[in-house]
Point group: C2
Chain length 459, copies 2
């Protein structure tokens, strides 16, 4: 996190400063996800960050899930107090407090009910990119922060079937982004009853497994039934002329996924960034020794332009640093391909190329033309190699067990990974005791083995 210059703890308790190199990972993820959700007819919109307390109070399950961890706005002015210190002005106390949004089902539901008259206005598919705040006790940069960035989708349908299909469709988009862009393998499945989103009828999840064997819930999609349409009174005139409550979904993916990326792909040398979301895909490092420096720099800049014209995001590192320090900096930052150019390479029309995913054993010197011609396919190869490597690592650490005792043996032996067991074991006293003993939780009921439940530690 620190060596790759991604983010840091902020002066605000439990929050993070996302530094430019880390933010670029999120921006590239955002761009890809935004394109995909627009392709399925979702439109972006924006609703207030402060939610009136009365709206939050309307939906009982929702309160239980979020009320204990909110930032509450009670005053609207600061002024100097008797000691001359700046403080909330007592005269500015609000009649009704506001909550900094922990999620926006309530305020979006209460607003869009006025946008919907009949079935012709449905489906209504909205998404909001923004920040949310939950007063978390134990925080960790990217993985669990009080404030985080995310998108929250809120879709409204005529029928339960359409809404359920939508929940699945949005989950598939998350799996696509996580697997094919961030190279993070995920297990798609349903949350068990105790792990559902507060107010949801069904919650689907994409669960990733970090290198330490812990799970990271990387995106969720909820079928909310009529929970919020009833509490907010979202009604429409149906095709046969009746007035009915609508069916809604919500779905979110956050900056947590960047934590997942780091902990899926990092190694002892630092970060590895999948090419598709890398800000810099190829970094060119000139090795300057005092003679021919200008020519070497020109050679590097020409190479950068040639790569750019192939659609490759390339840059030349012109910082006032030793070339060796630059190399090490880009190793830590996980740039997919490093290119070194010294006088010898230049004279021979060559470059020395190292792949971050394969490490220094992959270092080869080749003709610059050959490198440029192959750059895009090399990046594609890095992308799929990173995914396949991570996928194998996850698959190898899912352990089938036929009883609670076998699971206990696994975790007691500091087993790294998940156990997969018969779904009927879920919720038994034995199961609950196992979870308590090792701080485990049911991660999901996988789509591909619906009679099983996956259990593990989690972030």
């Amino acid at each position: 996190m620190k060596a790759a210059d991604l983010a840091e703890n902020s002066l605000t308790r439990g929050c993070m400063n996302i530094k430019p190199y880390g933010f670029a990972l999120w921006e590239n993820t955002q761009r890809a996800l935004d394109d995909k959700i627009k392709e399925v007819g979702v439109q972006n919109a924006y609703f207030p960050v402060l939610i009136p307390l009365s709206l939050i109070a309307k939906e009982a399950d929702h309160i239980d899930g979020f009320a204990t961890e909110c930032a509450v706005v009670t005053h609207h002015r600061l002024s100097k107090n008797a000691e001359g210190k700046l403080a909330p002005d007592p005269d500015s106390e609000l009649t009704e407090p506001y909550v900094v949004r922990p999620t926006s089902e309530t305020i979006i539901g209460e607003s869009v009910k006025n946008w919907i008259q009949s079935y012709r206005d449905l489906p209504l598919k909205l998404n909001q990119w923004g920040n949310v705040f939950r007063w978390e006790m134990r925080t960790r940069v990217f993985l669990r922060t009080a404030e985080f960035l995310w998108q929250e989708g809120h879709n409204v349908f005529e029928t339960a079937d359409e809404a359920r299909e939508d929940m699945k469709k949005m989950l598939d988009i998350y799996a696509d982004i996580l697997e094919n862009w961030m190279a993070i393998p995920v297990i798609k499945g349903y949350k068990t009853e105790d792990e559902k989103f507060p107010g949801a009828v069904e919650t689907m999840t994409v669960e990733a497994m970090m290198q330490d064997g812990k799970a990271l819930q990387s995106g969720t999609s909820h079928f909310l039934g009529q929970t919020f349409s009833k509490s907010a009174d979202i009604k429409f005139q149906s095709r046969d002329g009746n007035i009915e409550h609508a069916w809604t979904t919500s779905w979110g993916l956050s900056t947590r996924s960047i934590g997942g990326l780091i902990m899926t792909h990092g190694d002892d040398d630092g970060l590895k960034v999948p090419p598709k979301i890398a800000q810099i895909q190829v970094i060119i490092i000139p090795f300057l020794k005092g003679d021919n420096d200008d020519s070497i720099v020109d050679y590097c800049k020409t190479l950068k332009q040639n790569l750019k014209s192939q659609g490759v995001r390339a840059d030349v590192d012109m910082r006032e640093l030793r070339a060796g320090d630059k190399t090490w900096d880009w190793v830590k930052k996980g740039v997919p391909i490093r290119v070194e150019v010294g006088g010898r390479e230049m004279d021979a029309g060559q470059v020395t190329v190292t792949r971050r995913d394969l490490g220094k054993e992959s270092k080869t010197t080749m003709s610059v033309d050959e490198f440029v011609a192959q750059a895009q396919s090399t990046l594609d190869d890095i992308q799929s190699n990173m995914f396949e490597t991570a996928k194998k690592s996850v698959m190898d650490r899912i352990h089938d067990v036929d009883a609670i005792d076998a699971a206990r043996t696994f975790f007691a032996g500091n087993g790294n990974g998940f156990v997969r067991m018969d779904k009927t074991l879920w919720g038994t006293n034995e199961f609950n005791a196992l979870c308590d003993e090792f701080s485990l939780s049911p991660r999901c009921i996988p789509l591909d083995t619906p009679d099983k439940v996956i259990v593990g530690k989690s972030y």
Copy 2:
């Protein structure tokens, strides 16, 4: 606002719900501005939405400017009170309150001081896209809302000269976006002493004039000198080995600019959207009468594809509405080009085309191939026509006056527009009395007439 389905007042006091069609205008503006600021080496980053009170309290001028209008977070939990109602939990009162950011100079300054050791780390150019909150008393959708979306840039330099140049460069980028993308003519200039940003040494502004003659401050760029680098202690080792305080700028453009767009280009029939930021540049409306309907729809879809392959954002309106109602809807929404296709057009290989900027007099029937071939250049023409029309209207309403009395005569006669007068009149008793009498303010000292000051009413 309502008929074009752009935005509405929200359930949160003074805030707005930005609806999809309005949000798309902001997204397209954002995309263009983001590209331009990245071209000059600015990187995006993210800092917390809640700012500890002690940071806000550090810079005295800044407090005076913002402290009276903040949302203050004082508790971190809700719980049920004695009457069973959800309320801030008294046990969760914070030792130090937080303020929902009204702007981020303080928290960004206090954070980035740790990112800077020497001149090698400068310039540091950061931008944040996000939401801010100011407790405004009189609010109006887009023009003045308690919460608004914006970007805030925060750049740090070695020297005062570089920082001053940067202030000008970022203002030029705002003028470019406003004039060449949003087709809003602006006057570039310096704010007078009394209108500067709290804590700034110099504030530059791009001022627009709405059709009612009122000014809209549409973007500002500040040379902050060492105000914030001294209060936050942002220091660096200079080229000659001394430890010095850095020089900073900040610059922002917000969703207010969308208000400016509406009030610059709207007419009695609704909105007019400049093609460059239009979500839909060409809307195709099939006129279906029960025979040949499928063929007409196919003809429209083929046209849409042909336009798309020319890079034109086109759509076919397939809603269950009467064609006339669709036409009227898109007039109100200000789509640059409307295309009507009925059986007669289809049989003749034609389309009927109307430009929103020129109105129904521009309605012509032409061959579909000719239309597709010319579509992009027609959009360019609409873009420049909208700008030139607005520019002429603004220029015609800037009135040179040689004395305060002449200005009084103008405003007493309900004059629509600005007056331009000798700069030395600014700050005199007569000047102040004039401003009080007609609710005027000095808008700027224009770059092109630096011995003058422009005065007007404003939003």
